[in-house]
Subunit: 341 residues, 2 copies
Amino acid sequence: MTETQPSVERPATIYDVARAAGVSHATVTRLLKGYAGIRPETRDRVTEAIRELGYRPNLNARSLTTGRSHRIAALTHEITQVGPNRILEGANMAARDAGYLLDVITLDVHDPAAIRESIDLALQFDLAGVLALASTDEVTKAVETTTFRVPVYLATGHDRVPSDSTPAFNGLFPLLQHLAELGHRDVVHIAGPSGWVGARNRAREYEAAVAELGMRSQGLIHGDWSSRSGYQAILSLPDDLPATAFVAANDQTALGAILALNERGYRVPDDVSVTGVDDTPEAAYFSPPLTTLRIDFAAQGRHAVQQLLALIDGVPPPPMPPRIPELIVRRSTGNNPRAVQ
Amino acid sequence: MTETQPSVERPATIYDVARAAGVSHATVTRLLKGYAGIRPETRDRVTEAIRELGYRPNLNARSLTTGRSHRIAALTHEITQVGPNRILEGANMAARDAGYLLDVITLDVHDPAAIRESIDLALQFDLAGVLALASTDEVTKAVETTTFRVPVYLATGHDRVPSDSTPAFNGLFPLLQHLAELGHRDVVHIAGPSGWVGARNRAREYEAAVAELGMRSQGLIHGDWSSRSGYQAILSLPDDLPATAFVAANDQTALGAILALNERGYRVPDDVSVTGVDDTPEAAYFSPPLTTLRIDFAAQGRHAVQQLLALIDGVPPPPMPPRIPELIVRRSTGNNPRAVQ
DNA sequence: TACCGGAATGTTACCGGCAACATCGTCGGG
DNA sequence: CCCGACGATGTTGCCGGTAACATTCCGGTA
């Protein structure tokens, strides 16, 4: 289970390589930086020495002199949740592809002091940039009141499309349209926590879609992205449910809602419909399988990194490709039994 | 959504601080390192200058001279899954508490070339140690064939207790004992992928417990930790189910199994029982809520970091505290309807 | 044959810390 | 009154790279 490599010898430096190849260290640097004007014979000797000694450049030293590091920090939270997680994964990939290493700083999004502390730790390492992925108001505030000497990119952490896009592609619309087509009129939104930028955006999208489709919102209950909060949201409703369809802020919340509805004697989807957002891998295996909106989190992560790198390099940021959330219809939604056909 | 801090000024160094305080840079270093023999007046001036300039030590430069860095890399995978995730979270905390920063290297556990590449990237930064958390055979092999110059700690990534511990605390035992008490005799294990050390351990624990309790194993199907694989495992079984209880390798797998059983007309728990492992936050909200084994992943992560730090500091590693997986009984398990009472 | 210029390579200083060693000043003892 | 010792602080060199500048070695030309 455990394994130690004693191997006390210090790693080889360019000086070691230079000595082994019988050249000066500058020649080694030149080779490493792809400088063309090196005699083939010399080049071979150096290359061989590098291989021989297993030389690996010390990136610390490098970034000390160049003044620019190749690492970026990502502030995130609760990596247990699927969304943030996937975003992180995408960001990680994109960063790696660009030759950067991503430091993940997990923070307690509700404790300003802890946020401060985490940011402070990160700032000690010289970073090329900072990616704020967890966008609660607390984090936003902490980021805004900190003086970073490096570019910072603040992502909302949840899907966000330009507000001028067509309704059909705007957030929750496809989901509500689907419900409307099934004859549902009265709907309740079990939202994310109000301190989250993404949750608020989603709630607004919900209101807009409901209005657009001529439906009636019978309530907006703030949860906390958890299954528990979905469960409790349903339990908090009066005996005679005010709606026939429930739009949860994410799949986990929907899971809890389904259980609560079952326990209160409602069958999903025969009596009521439930939808989620995210399309986590598990959503297809809920009982019943969940109708949801597929979000391409990895793309969001990649995009965030690209934006940040553009800031770092001082080039215009690449445009956000239009992300169209895809409606995934499964078995948690059905015709409204009370609908006048 | 975006925010840039132009702020081109380079960060303050000890030299800047020294100049501002009218002392030499060595005095600043001394203060920073907690050296006692500094005149109070001088100390105040320096402290003030540090505050004034917002000085933060450049850890790159520091580790360049001291030769020891304060960062460790964690090799992990699929951070989407709850277990590895929580482990990472615990590791992150422990590392931070010890003043280390944890670099998370996500790797494709099945592509040896990608594993190599990721490890190589990590090695360029000078690391104090490496934590291998994703323990597939491929990763294990890659780690073993790489020459790290730093300590490496290889964790199995899943619960593991000393083999000499009492059966009652050994892995899956409590779960199977619970099933036995409910009158179940024939049981099937939906395991994790065979390339995973943790999955194999768990499978062995299953076999041992079944034997110990006088039950009969009617099969061991390898899944891949996913809900899909749990679903398909059930579908692969003959029409007349060979068992009345199904022990899944994790909660996700159990979720898929429950759906498949439902679709095949079996009610859980009235007809058959299903159990998971992990106790993810969602498990309590499955329909029906899942009987499972609670694993303290965060503790595993913390422990792994502590082991690694002990290796780094050359001190004897702290003992593993006995981790007793806790049986969480919910509604996915019930009496065996076929049992002769 | 002396000279010029560019290609190939070497030398040097610096990045921001740390630590060994050097220096300065002051106080107490002989 | 001088000197030693010690406390407080300054100077220097080094860690492993990078880059500006310097030098060497050619061949080609006048």
